[in-house]
Protein backbone atom coordinates (compact mmCIF):
# COMPACT_ATOMS: atom_id res chain seq x y z
CA UNK A 1 0.00 0.00 0.00
CA UNK A 2 2.69 2.49 1.03
CA UNK A 3 5.24 1.53 -1.63
CA UNK A 4 5.20 -0.12 -5.01
CA UNK A 5 7.66 -2.69 -3.76
CA UNK A 6 6.41 -6.14 -2.92
CA UNK A 7 6.25 -6.67 0.79
CA UNK A 8 6.07 -9.92 2.72
CA UNK A 9 2.45 -9.11 3.59
CA UNK A 10 1.60 -8.99 -0.11
CA UNK A 11 3.10 -12.41 -0.70
CA UNK A 12 1.18 -13.89 2.22
CA UNK A 13 -2.07 -12.30 1.08
CA UNK A 14 -1.68 -13.75 -2.39
CA UNK A 15 -0.84 -17.17 -1.05
CA UNK A 16 -3.91 -17.16 1.19
CA UNK A 17 -6.04 -16.01 -1.73
CA UNK A 18 -4.65 -18.83 -3.86
CA UNK A 19 -5.45 -21.45 -1.22
CA UNK A 20 -8.98 -20.09 -0.74
CA UNK A 21 -9.56 -20.12 -4.49
CA UNK A 22 -8.33 -23.70 -4.80
CA UNK A 23 -10.70 -24.79 -2.01
CA UNK A 24 -13.65 -23.10 -3.66
CA UNK A 25 -12.92 -24.30 -7.19
CA UNK A 26 -11.93 -27.83 -6.27
CA UNK A 27 -15.49 -29.32 -6.33
CA UNK A 28 -15.98 -27.96 -9.84
CA UNK A 29 -12.67 -29.47 -10.94
CA UNK A 30 -13.56 -32.78 -9.32
CA UNK A 31 -16.94 -32.83 -11.05
CA UNK A 32 -15.40 -32.27 -14.47
CA UNK A 33 -12.57 -34.75 -13.87
CA UNK A 34 -14.92 -37.47 -12.62
CA UNK A 35 -17.19 -37.09 -15.62
CA UNK A 36 -14.31 -38.26 -17.84
CA UNK A 37 -13.40 -41.25 -15.68
CA UNK A 38 -14.27 -44.80 -16.67
CA UNK A 39 -16.56 -46.66 -14.27
CA UNK A 40 -13.77 -48.53 -12.38
CA UNK A 41 -11.83 -45.28 -11.83
CA UNK A 42 -14.86 -43.69 -10.19
CA UNK A 43 -15.24 -46.37 -7.55
CA UNK A 44 -11.68 -46.71 -6.29
CA UNK A 45 -10.46 -46.37 -2.77
CA UNK A 46 -8.62 -44.08 -2.31
CA UNK A 47 -9.84 -41.95 -5.25
CA UNK A 48 -7.49 -41.72 -8.23
CA UNK A 49 -6.03 -38.43 -9.38
CA UNK A 50 -4.71 -39.78 -12.67
CA UNK A 51 -6.79 -41.68 -15.22
CA UNK A 52 -7.34 -42.23 -18.93
CA UNK A 53 -10.17 -39.93 -20.01
CA UNK A 54 -13.20 -41.46 -21.71
CA UNK A 55 -16.48 -40.11 -23.06
CA UNK A 56 -18.51 -43.14 -21.97
CA UNK A 57 -20.40 -41.28 -19.26
CA UNK A 58 -21.60 -38.61 -21.69
CA UNK A 59 -22.55 -41.27 -24.21
CA UNK A 60 -24.60 -43.05 -21.57
CA UNK A 61 -26.32 -39.86 -20.41
CA UNK A 62 -27.42 -38.86 -23.88
CA UNK A 63 -28.10 -42.26 -25.45
CA UNK A 64 -29.55 -44.30 -22.61
CA UNK A 65 -30.96 -41.64 -20.33
CA UNK A 66 -32.55 -39.35 -22.90
CA UNK A 67 -30.71 -36.29 -21.73
CA UNK A 68 -31.17 -34.46 -25.04
CA UNK A 69 -34.93 -34.30 -24.42
CA UNK A 70 -34.42 -32.79 -20.96
CA UNK A 71 -32.15 -30.10 -22.37
CA UNK A 72 -34.74 -29.31 -25.03
CA UNK A 73 -37.48 -29.07 -22.42
CA UNK A 74 -35.37 -26.81 -20.25
CA UNK A 75 -34.54 -24.50 -23.14
CA UNK A 76 -38.22 -24.29 -24.13
CA UNK A 77 -39.44 -23.59 -20.60
CA UNK A 78 -36.63 -21.19 -19.71
CA UNK A 79 -36.83 -19.36 -23.04
CA UNK A 80 -40.59 -18.80 -23.17
CA UNK A 81 -40.84 -17.81 -19.51
CA UNK A 82 -37.96 -15.36 -19.94
CA UNK A 83 -39.67 -13.70 -22.92
CA UNK A 84 -42.88 -13.31 -20.91
CA UNK A 85 -40.97 -11.99 -17.92
CA UNK A 86 -39.19 -9.38 -20.03
CA UNK A 87 -42.39 -8.19 -21.75
CA UNK A 88 -44.50 -7.84 -18.59
CA UNK A 89 -41.58 -6.94 -16.37
CA UNK A 90 -40.16 -4.08 -18.43
CA UNK A 91 -43.54 -2.34 -18.68
CA UNK A 92 -44.21 -2.63 -14.97
CA UNK A 93 -40.68 -1.82 -13.94
CA UNK A 94 -40.57 1.35 -16.06
CA UNK A 95 -43.86 2.44 -14.55
CA UNK A 96 -42.52 1.92 -11.02
CA UNK A 97 -39.28 3.74 -11.80
CA UNK A 98 -40.98 6.78 -13.36
CA UNK A 99 -44.38 7.12 -11.73
CA UNK A 100 -44.03 5.07 -8.54
CA UNK A 101 -47.60 3.78 -8.39
CA UNK A 102 -48.48 2.39 -4.97
CA UNK A 103 -45.75 4.45 -3.29
CA UNK A 104 -43.40 1.51 -2.72
CA UNK A 105 -46.06 -0.77 -1.26
CA UNK A 106 -46.80 -2.58 -4.51
CA UNK A 107 -43.07 -2.96 -5.15
CA UNK A 108 -42.70 -4.43 -1.69
CA UNK A 109 -45.65 -6.75 -2.15
CA UNK A 110 -44.05 -7.96 -5.38
CA UNK A 111 -40.80 -8.61 -3.53
CA UNK A 112 -42.51 -10.65 -0.84
CA UNK A 113 -44.01 -12.94 -3.47
CA UNK A 114 -40.44 -13.67 -4.49
CA UNK A 115 -39.46 -14.45 -0.89
CA UNK A 116 -42.20 -17.08 -0.61
CA UNK A 117 -40.80 -20.52 0.03
CA UNK A 118 -41.72 -22.58 -3.01
CA UNK A 119 -42.68 -25.57 -0.92
CA UNK A 120 -45.43 -23.51 0.75
CA UNK A 121 -47.31 -22.95 -2.52
CA UNK A 122 -46.39 -26.08 -4.42
CA UNK A 123 -49.28 -28.26 -3.24
CA UNK A 124 -51.94 -25.83 -4.56
CA UNK A 125 -50.00 -25.58 -7.82
CA UNK A 126 -49.85 -29.35 -8.01
CA UNK A 127 -53.61 -29.73 -7.46
CA UNK A 128 -54.57 -26.88 -9.78
CA UNK A 129 -52.41 -28.13 -12.63
CA UNK A 130 -53.77 -31.63 -12.13
CA UNK A 131 -57.29 -30.25 -12.64
CA UNK A 132 -56.38 -27.96 -15.53
CA UNK A 133 -54.47 -30.73 -17.30
CA UNK A 134 -57.72 -32.66 -17.77
CA UNK A 135 -59.61 -29.78 -19.40
CA UNK A 136 -59.57 -29.02 -23.13
CA UNK A 137 -57.88 -25.65 -22.61
CA UNK A 138 -55.17 -27.29 -20.54
CA UNK A 139 -54.59 -29.92 -23.21
CA UNK A 140 -54.46 -27.35 -26.01
CA UNK A 141 -52.04 -25.02 -24.21
CA UNK A 142 -49.94 -27.89 -22.79
CA UNK A 143 -50.70 -26.74 -19.24
CA UNK A 144 -50.95 -29.51 -16.69
CA UNK A 145 -48.86 -32.02 -14.79
CA UNK A 146 -45.88 -33.15 -16.83
CA UNK A 147 -46.57 -30.45 -19.47
CA UNK A 148 -44.13 -27.62 -20.24
CA UNK A 149 -46.87 -24.97 -19.96
CA UNK A 150 -47.14 -25.49 -16.22
CA UNK A 151 -43.46 -24.79 -15.66
CA UNK A 152 -43.55 -21.79 -18.00
CA UNK A 153 -46.29 -20.25 -15.86
CA UNK A 154 -44.50 -21.03 -12.59
CA UNK A 155 -41.16 -19.65 -13.75
CA UNK A 156 -42.79 -16.51 -15.10
CA UNK A 157 -44.42 -15.86 -11.74
CA UNK A 158 -41.23 -16.62 -9.83
CA UNK A 159 -39.04 -14.46 -12.08
CA UNK A 160 -41.32 -11.44 -12.53
CA UNK A 161 -40.62 -9.93 -9.09
CA UNK A 162 -36.90 -10.33 -9.55
CA UNK A 163 -37.00 -8.87 -13.07
CA UNK A 164 -39.14 -5.91 -12.02
CA UNK A 165 -36.73 -5.04 -9.21
CA UNK A 166 -33.56 -5.48 -11.25
CA UNK A 167 -34.84 -3.52 -14.26
CA UNK A 168 -36.13 -0.86 -11.88
CA UNK A 169 -32.53 0.00 -11.03
CA UNK A 170 -31.60 0.23 -14.70
CA UNK A 171 -34.58 2.41 -15.59
CA UNK A 172 -33.75 4.72 -12.70
CA UNK A 173 -30.27 5.21 -14.15
CA UNK A 174 -31.72 6.76 -17.29
CA UNK A 175 -31.75 10.55 -16.85
CA UNK A 176 -35.22 11.96 -16.81
CA UNK A 177 -34.03 14.93 -18.86
CA UNK A 178 -33.59 12.69 -21.90
CA UNK A 179 -37.22 11.76 -21.70
CA UNK A 180 -38.23 15.38 -21.21
CA UNK A 181 -36.38 16.48 -24.32
CA UNK A 182 -37.90 13.60 -26.28
CA UNK A 183 -41.32 14.78 -25.15
CA UNK A 184 -40.48 18.34 -26.23
CA UNK A 185 -39.56 16.95 -29.65
CA UNK A 186 -43.16 15.87 -29.93
CA UNK A 187 -42.86 12.22 -28.92
CA UNK A 188 -45.78 10.78 -27.00
CA UNK A 189 -45.33 8.85 -23.78
CA UNK A 190 -45.38 5.51 -25.52
CA UNK A 191 -43.07 6.60 -28.32
CA UNK A 192 -40.67 7.94 -25.73
CA UNK A 193 -40.69 4.60 -23.96
CA UNK A 194 -40.05 2.62 -27.14
CA UNK A 195 -37.62 4.90 -28.96
CA UNK A 196 -35.70 6.52 -26.11
CA UNK A 197 -36.02 4.51 -22.91
CA UNK A 198 -35.91 0.93 -24.19
CA UNK A 199 -32.72 1.34 -26.27
CA UNK A 200 -31.00 2.97 -23.31
CA UNK A 201 -32.17 0.18 -21.01
CA UNK A 202 -31.17 -2.56 -23.46
CA UNK A 203 -28.10 -3.72 -21.48
CA UNK A 204 -30.19 -3.92 -18.32
CA UNK A 205 -32.89 -5.86 -20.11
CA UNK A 206 -30.32 -8.28 -21.53
CA UNK A 207 -28.80 -8.80 -18.08
CA UNK A 208 -32.23 -9.41 -16.58
CA UNK A 209 -33.04 -11.90 -19.33
CA UNK A 210 -29.85 -13.88 -18.69
CA UNK A 211 -30.52 -13.97 -14.95
CA UNK A 212 -34.07 -15.21 -15.60
CA UNK A 213 -32.76 -17.88 -17.93
CA UNK A 214 -30.21 -19.01 -15.35
CA UNK A 215 -32.84 -19.19 -12.65
CA UNK A 216 -35.21 -21.25 -14.78
CA UNK A 217 -32.39 -23.54 -15.87
CA UNK A 218 -31.26 -24.19 -12.30
CA UNK A 219 -34.71 -24.49 -10.70
CA UNK A 220 -35.39 -27.89 -9.19
CA UNK A 221 -38.30 -28.09 -6.74
CA UNK A 222 -41.17 -27.15 -9.06
CA UNK A 223 -39.70 -29.10 -11.95
CA UNK A 224 -39.36 -32.13 -9.72
CA UNK A 225 -42.94 -32.05 -8.45
CA UNK A 226 -44.73 -30.89 -11.59
CA UNK A 227 -43.07 -33.10 -14.21
CA UNK A 228 -42.59 -36.82 -14.58
CA UNK A 229 -40.85 -37.74 -17.84
CA UNK A 230 -42.26 -35.95 -20.89
CA UNK A 231 -41.62 -32.44 -19.60
CA UNK A 232 -38.69 -33.30 -17.34
CA UNK A 233 -36.02 -30.62 -17.11
CA UNK A 234 -32.29 -30.91 -16.79
CA UNK A 235 -31.89 -30.59 -13.02
CA UNK A 236 -34.48 -33.30 -12.43
CA UNK A 237 -32.72 -35.35 -15.10
CA UNK A 238 -29.46 -35.15 -13.15
CA UNK A 239 -31.14 -36.37 -9.98
CA UNK A 240 -32.73 -39.19 -11.98
CA UNK A 241 -29.48 -41.16 -11.89
CA UNK A 242 -30.25 -41.94 -8.27
CA UNK A 243 -32.43 -45.02 -8.17
CA UNK A 244 -33.48 -47.75 -5.81
CA UNK A 245 -30.76 -50.00 -7.26
CA UNK A 246 -28.02 -47.47 -6.61
CA UNK A 247 -26.43 -44.36 -7.98
CA UNK A 248 -24.86 -44.23 -11.44
CA UNK A 249 -22.10 -41.84 -10.47
CA UNK A 250 -20.41 -41.66 -13.88
CA UNK A 251 -23.42 -40.59 -15.97
CA UNK A 252 -24.57 -38.44 -13.07
CA UNK A 253 -21.38 -36.40 -13.07
CA UNK A 254 -21.47 -36.12 -16.87
CA UNK A 255 -25.06 -34.84 -16.66
CA UNK A 256 -24.09 -32.44 -13.88
CA UNK A 257 -21.32 -31.04 -16.07
CA UNK A 258 -23.79 -30.49 -18.91
CA UNK A 259 -26.13 -28.80 -16.43
CA UNK A 260 -23.55 -26.64 -14.64
CA UNK A 261 -20.94 -25.59 -17.18
CA UNK A 262 -23.20 -23.50 -19.48
CA UNK A 263 -24.33 -21.52 -16.42
CA UNK A 264 -20.73 -20.97 -15.35
CA UNK A 265 -20.04 -19.46 -18.77
CA UNK A 266 -23.15 -17.27 -18.52
CA UNK A 267 -22.02 -16.09 -15.09
CA UNK A 268 -18.57 -15.20 -16.39
CA UNK A 269 -20.15 -13.22 -19.22
CA UNK A 270 -22.35 -11.43 -16.68
CA UNK A 271 -19.72 -10.79 -14.06
CA UNK A 272 -19.87 -6.99 -14.31
CA UNK A 273 -23.54 -7.16 -13.37
CA UNK A 274 -23.40 -10.14 -11.03
CA UNK A 275 -23.57 -8.15 -7.81
CA UNK A 276 -26.37 -6.01 -9.15
CA UNK A 277 -28.39 -9.04 -10.14
CA UNK A 278 -27.81 -10.88 -6.89
CA UNK A 279 -29.04 -7.92 -4.84
CA UNK A 280 -32.16 -7.26 -6.94
CA UNK A 281 -30.51 -4.09 -8.23
CA UNK A 282 -29.88 -2.62 -4.78
CA UNK A 283 -26.06 -2.61 -5.00
CA UNK A 284 -24.74 -1.27 -8.25
CA UNK A 285 -21.43 -3.14 -8.09
Amino acid sequence: MQSAKTSLGDVIRHLVMLVVLIIFLFPIYWMIATSFKAAPDILTRPPTWTFTPTLDNYRFAFEEANFGLYIGNTLLVAGVSTILVIIFGSLASYSFARYNPGDGHIMFFILTTRMMPGIAVIIPFFLIFREVGNTDIGKALLIGLDRPGALIIVYTVLNLPFAIWLMHSFFQDIPKELEHSARLDGYGRIQTFIRVVLPLAAPGIAVTAIFSLMFAWNEFLFAFILTRDMARTITVGVSGFISQQGILWGPLTAAAVVCVVPMLLFALALQRYMVRGLTFGAVRG
Binding site: G102, D103, H105
Partner: protein, 75 residues
Protein backbone atom coordinates in the same frame (compact mmCIF):
# COMPACT_ATOMS: atom_id res chain seq x y z
CA UNK B 1 -54.61 9.00 6.11
CA UNK B 2 -53.26 8.28 2.68
CA UNK B 3 -54.07 5.05 0.91
CA UNK B 4 -50.51 3.82 1.31
CA UNK B 5 -50.46 4.52 5.07
CA UNK B 6 -53.80 2.78 5.44
CA UNK B 7 -52.48 -0.24 3.59
CA UNK B 8 -49.39 -0.38 5.80
CA UNK B 9 -51.52 -0.23 8.93
CA UNK B 10 -53.90 -2.86 7.58
CA UNK B 11 -50.98 -5.15 6.80
CA UNK B 12 -49.65 -4.97 10.35
CA UNK B 13 -53.15 -5.31 11.79
CA UNK B 14 -53.54 -8.56 9.85
CA UNK B 15 -50.16 -9.79 11.10
CA UNK B 16 -51.21 -9.05 14.69
CA UNK B 17 -54.59 -10.77 14.30
CA UNK B 18 -52.93 -13.95 13.07
CA UNK B 19 -50.31 -13.81 15.81
CA UNK B 20 -52.94 -13.54 18.54
CA UNK B 21 -54.89 -16.38 16.96
CA UNK B 22 -51.81 -18.61 16.94
CA UNK B 23 -50.87 -17.81 20.51
CA UNK B 24 -54.48 -18.52 21.51
CA UNK B 25 -54.48 -21.94 19.91
CA UNK B 26 -51.01 -22.93 21.06
CA UNK B 27 -51.04 -21.73 24.66
CA UNK B 28 -54.49 -20.77 25.87
CA UNK B 29 -56.40 -23.72 24.44
CA UNK B 30 -54.04 -26.21 26.02
CA UNK B 31 -55.25 -24.83 29.36
CA UNK B 32 -58.96 -24.16 28.79
CA UNK B 33 -59.74 -26.62 25.98
CA UNK B 34 -60.70 -25.91 22.35
CA UNK B 35 -62.67 -22.72 21.79
CA UNK B 36 -61.77 -20.96 18.55
CA UNK B 37 -64.84 -18.70 18.36
CA UNK B 38 -63.89 -16.42 21.27
CA UNK B 39 -60.25 -16.50 20.17
CA UNK B 40 -61.19 -15.31 16.72
CA UNK B 41 -63.28 -12.50 18.22
CA UNK B 42 -60.50 -11.38 20.55
CA UNK B 43 -57.92 -11.42 17.74
CA UNK B 44 -60.19 -9.49 15.37
CA UNK B 45 -61.07 -6.96 18.08
CA UNK B 46 -57.40 -6.25 18.80
CA UNK B 47 -56.73 -5.92 15.07
CA UNK B 48 -59.57 -3.44 14.64
CA UNK B 49 -58.46 -1.41 17.65
CA UNK B 50 -54.90 -1.35 16.30
CA UNK B 51 -56.10 -0.16 12.91
CA UNK B 52 -58.48 2.41 14.38
CA UNK B 53 -55.85 4.00 16.65
CA UNK B 54 -53.55 4.32 13.65
CA UNK B 55 -56.35 5.88 11.66
CA UNK B 56 -57.21 8.36 14.38
CA UNK B 57 -53.66 9.44 15.07
CA UNK B 58 -53.10 9.91 11.34
CA UNK B 59 -56.27 12.01 11.11
CA UNK B 60 -55.19 14.10 14.10
CA UNK B 61 -51.76 14.63 12.59
CA UNK B 62 -53.28 15.71 9.30
CA UNK B 63 -55.57 18.17 11.04
CA UNK B 64 -52.61 19.63 12.94
CA UNK B 65 -50.59 19.96 9.76
CA UNK B 66 -53.47 21.67 8.01
CA UNK B 67 -53.89 24.22 10.78
CA UNK B 68 -50.14 24.80 10.75
CA UNK B 69 -50.09 25.48 7.02
CA UNK B 70 -53.11 27.75 7.40
CA UNK B 71 -51.28 29.65 10.13
CA UNK B 72 -48.26 29.97 7.85
CA UNK B 73 -50.44 31.17 5.00
CA UNK B 74 -51.92 33.85 7.21
CA UNK B 75 -48.44 35.02 8.14
Amino acid sequence: MTLSEAWDRLFWAAIIVVLIGLVWIRFLESVIGPCDGPGLLVALAVGIVFFATGWRSAAARKKREMTETEAKDEL
